[in-house]
Amino acid sequence: MSIRIKRRLAHFPIFLLLLIIALIVLLPVVWMMISSFKPAKEIISYPPTFFAKTFSLENYQRLAKRLKVFVYIKNSCIYATLTTIPSVFICSLAGYAFARFQFKGRNVLFLMVLATMMIPFQVIMIPLFLVVKTMGMYDSYAGLVLPKLAVAISIFMMRSAFVALPKELEEAGRIDGVGEFGLYWKIMMPQVMPTMITMLILGVNAAWNDLMWPLLVTSSTKMRTLANGLALFIGSDTSEYGPAFAGALYSILPMLVLYIIGQKYFVEGTVTSGLKG
């Protein structure tokens, strides 16, 4: 036997182990996706089936009847858009200032930003809820979105990206006579686009799947997001697995597409925020 084949054989058990773990990750999701197209009876039949014996849209019709699922999806889209694009923009503004300007109080203020990173959201959720309620923003898009805009880790990562840019770039811009905002907008910001896209993609995923804040701050069915509307639905009636699976498919599919397109950004964002944070 050649050495190469011997090596291959030695690696086989490892490959098998990795494959089994991959199946434990993938099969439940695939099974749920397939099951959402099974008739309700088949979902709770015993023994369980993997592939659908009969294809049906029954669960999707029942879900649409029971919940305003398309309103939920619309709200999730709004929540995911409004908490990310403006957030990345203002966090990059701040990151830029902390990276490229000398000003009084810079270190203290930056330290303050870092300190807010240590406050778990769960600790401030009760007073935050009361603040939002007092401001009259309960059960509104403003109440959902505004508290989620300033993200410390985002400011931190934007600052690191801007710090790394060469001084010459800035000077060239100044000689051309663009204003301070023009310098940021036209010259510096395009240089950190990869970081901004990373923050955007991670932010969209986090907002789309966010359960707690929408759960606290919305009460009417027309304000619910998909993640919390579905959670309340399965909480109230555990026997409705079919429609719940259909809802879960709506919740997973858009992010799966995003993951397949932007996997690089998911990984990079996780690794850099993991290493530097």
Partner: protein, 296 residues
């Protein structure tokens, strides 16, 4: 002329503050303000509608320390941390070690393991609840095929907590693995070459070079996972809601029920401050331990 120069200098000085103003105001209103407010609210008996507030002083805190459900939720949270964090890290270290090289198959495995990051706690909860269903679940079916009896995964006071821990590990082990792979790839190759000369095996290399090489990342990961464990809520809410018999009720789940189901904002705030204190103490202890290790 003088005026305009003065104006310009003033404007120049103001610029950075304008850049940070939006973020700073938002942090003040929605992070720092509420944090300070939390201390105030914890001294009152207060409901979500905020009428009928009475000042209690430290009454809420006194109640916290004699509240068996608080102690129970703390116990559940500690148990969660002691099981979830080591399980997750051991799996992640092993997998990162196996997947460090950038081969094609490794890249595919990494992409698959990382995928659950896109599954919401809601979707994860629904999915596993039916897979582990005590009558019609797939795992129940497999258990019967293997001759194991019926296991009531989702409703058994002694095992349900571990079942939810499993779901949490399922959802996040890929993230830890990815972070560790990043760290392992940064260990200088010259160290491995030296080890090759010293003739220590693959395992020796892993424990003597790789692990010490990724220590800072490992510490960081342990710290964030422990702190994260003290904030567990989503997966509990979407699977058991704290049951059976409060055996899966974590600290944050308990805060949620006090605040938003029983409508006692003041008491829930007092619980939040206890949570903050616990998280702070853990952070400080682990951080100093990390610094001490690094200087050794």
């Amino acid at each position: 002329m003088e005026m305009s120069i003065g104006k310009k200098a003033w404007k120049h000085r103001l610029t950075p503050y304008l850049f940070i103003a939006p973020v700073m105001l938002l942090l003040l209103a929605f992070n720092i303000g509420p944090l300070l407010g939390c201390f105030g609210i914890s001294l009152f008996d207060i409901t979500t509608t905020m009428n009928n507030t009475t000042f209690l002083g430290l009454g809420n805190f006194k109640e916290v320390f004699t509240d068996w459900r608080f102690w129970n939720s703390l116990k559940v949270t500690v148990k969660w941390t002691l099981v979830e964090v080591p399980a997750q890290l051991i799996i992640a270290i092993a997998l990162a070690g196996l997947l460090t090289k950038n081969t094609k198959s490794n890249k595919i495995f990494r992409a698959i393991y990382f995928m659950p990051i896109i599954c919401s706690a809601t979707a994860t909860g629904i999915m596993w609840k039916l897979i582990l269903h005590s009558n019609v679940g797939y795992v129940t079916y497999l258990c019967r095929l293997m001759g194991l009896g019926k296991i009531n995964f989702m409703n058994d006071s002694s095992i349900t907590i571990y079942v939810i821990v499993f779901m949490s590990v399922w959802k996040t082990f890929g993230i830890s693995t990815t972070i560790l792979i990043g760290a392992m790839q940064n260990v200088p190759t010259s160290l491995y070459e030296a080890a090759d000369i010293d003739n220590c095996g693959k395992f020796g290399q892993f424990f003597h070079i790789t692990i010490p090489g990724i220590k800072p990342t490992l510490w960081f990961l342990i710290m964030t996972r422990v702190i994260g464990s003290f904030q567990v809520f989503d997966i509990v809410y979407t699977t058991t809601g704290g049951g059976p018999n409060y055996t899966t009720e974590t600290l944050v789940s308990y805060i949620y029920t006090r605040g938003f189901e029983i409508n006692r904002m003041g008491y829930a705030s007092a619980l939040s401050i206890v949570l903050l204190a616990i998280v702070m103490v853990i952070t400080i202890i682990m951080y100093t331990a990390m610094l001490r290790r690094e200087t050794d």
